[in-house]
Amino acid sequence: MKSRSSAWRPPAGRRTRPSPFWSVTPAFPEAGSTWVRWGRTMEEEPFKASSDHRNLGQASGHDGLPDGGIQATLSQPGLSTQLSEVRGSSDQNHGTGHETRGDSQQGLLEDGDKSISQRDKDSSKPEDLDQHTLLDLEPPRSSTQGIWLAELDSESGNEHFSESLSSTLEQAGFRLYLAEQQKKLPLPLRELMETEALEILTKALKSYRSKIGENHFLTQELQRSVEELQRRKRLLWKSQ
């Protein structure tokens, strides 16, 4: 074994070469950015969540799951769009709701920008705003909210409003879950990796002990890592 303290000599006749690998490794993004797909089976069947979110996030232009921040701003227009859809086309099939939501989301972003700037200009006269523009805005916190809610009650009915509220809450919870999952690996995968790493490192520890002894600092470092992995495994078993 080659320890850090002793000089390692390359085999006879070996020359150093320029790195061939710099262009192969992808410049993968930081943690928390878009997850495309992973896994042998999951490449064929992407996350159901990601497919749902792809519809919502299409307007943002991201390939994978969009950031939570973008989702937060889209959620309110999504709610209002759902209501307008219900109002506008009551005989539409529920199954196509996703697609229409996705399409209208795209237009909404463009409208949203306009409506926000418009809102800034006409902040003193919210009543003059177009009904469609009102729906595009994030739910206003002042008097216009009452008007908005009143309109909803009168036209769409309480049922649709409560349904959309509950779906918004579910979406918000789900978004938080996804944002966390974006940063972490799935638990089964993590467990598999740690189990495998533990077995490999346990064998490596035996080699270290036999070659450089137990008191060497490299052996002790490896031993600490092995103990850490064993502790994590025990915790996982206990929690299950």
């Binding site: 790195s19 061939p20 490794t25 997850w35 064998k203």
Partner: protein, 213 residues
């Protein structure tokens, strides 16, 4: 050489066209690499590398040492994540019978790996040494050399090696096409036999009914 079933590498997905992993797979692989990097040097030394490869594959000790020497291009006794990632791609392409496709897509990297002496030329010795990894077939090599009017002991530079990879890739595609055609012919033949058997059964039943009257 086989990747151990149900190991972590076995679950990774290698793109069949570019022979690379997706960003998500690379992220997972990086986490795995960090678990093995117990000394926090962003590298694996030869012992850790040896135990890793002996766990995930069925390679022999001699072959593992050869792979390590191949990847340790700057002769420091350790390999970094870039080399680790490339090795995983090679293992998975071998597992999925995509060696020719991999060599075609990444001919420059494969050439530099095989050129262990840094002479910018590789010969049949290099191919023979790493045949367990890249599955470079003797008959393909002979055909290639013969087709270009070269002797068996001829050493190739990068451009010639690139042409060889194109040649090998074409051979693979032709073989796959022939296999697909064969399978289709078999299917067609089976369905024809089924139809014939069915018709015979129908006629027999009809005949028996007639006689039975």
């Amino acid at each position: 050489m086989k990747v151990k079933e149900a190991s972590f590498l076995w679950y990774l997905y290698l793109d069949k066209i570019y022979c690379l992993l997706s960003a998500r797979n690379v992220k997972a692989l990086l986490e795995y690499f960090h678990l093995l990097d117990v000394h926090h040097q962003n590298t694996l030394n030869d012992v850790l590398f040896y135990h890793f490869l002996s766990y995930v594959t069925n390679l022999k000790s001699r072959q593992i040492r050869m792979v390590f020497d191949m990847l340790d291009y700057n002769a420091v006794g350790e390999i970094g994540f870039e080399e680790f990632y490339l090795l995983v791609c090679i293992l998975l392409s071998h597992q999925n019978n995509l060696e020719e496709q991999f060599m075609y897509c990444h001919s420059r990297h494969v050439f530099r790996l095989l050129d262990i002496n840094g002479e910018q030329r590789i010969g049949p010795t290099n191919f023979r040494m790493y045949r367990f990894l890249f599955n470079i077939r003797k008959e393909h090599l002979k055909e290639f050399f013969y087709g270009f009017g070269l002797t068996d002991e001829r050493r190739l530079n990068y451009k010639e090696f690139k042409i060889y990879t194109i040649f090998a890739n074409d051979k693979l595609k032709e073989k796959q096409r022939r296999e697909t055609e064969k399978q289709e012919r078999r299917k067609k033949f089976k369905s024809q036999i089924k139809n014939t058997v069915y018709q015979v059964a129908v006629i027999r039943r009809f005949w028996n009914k007639k006689i039975g009257r």
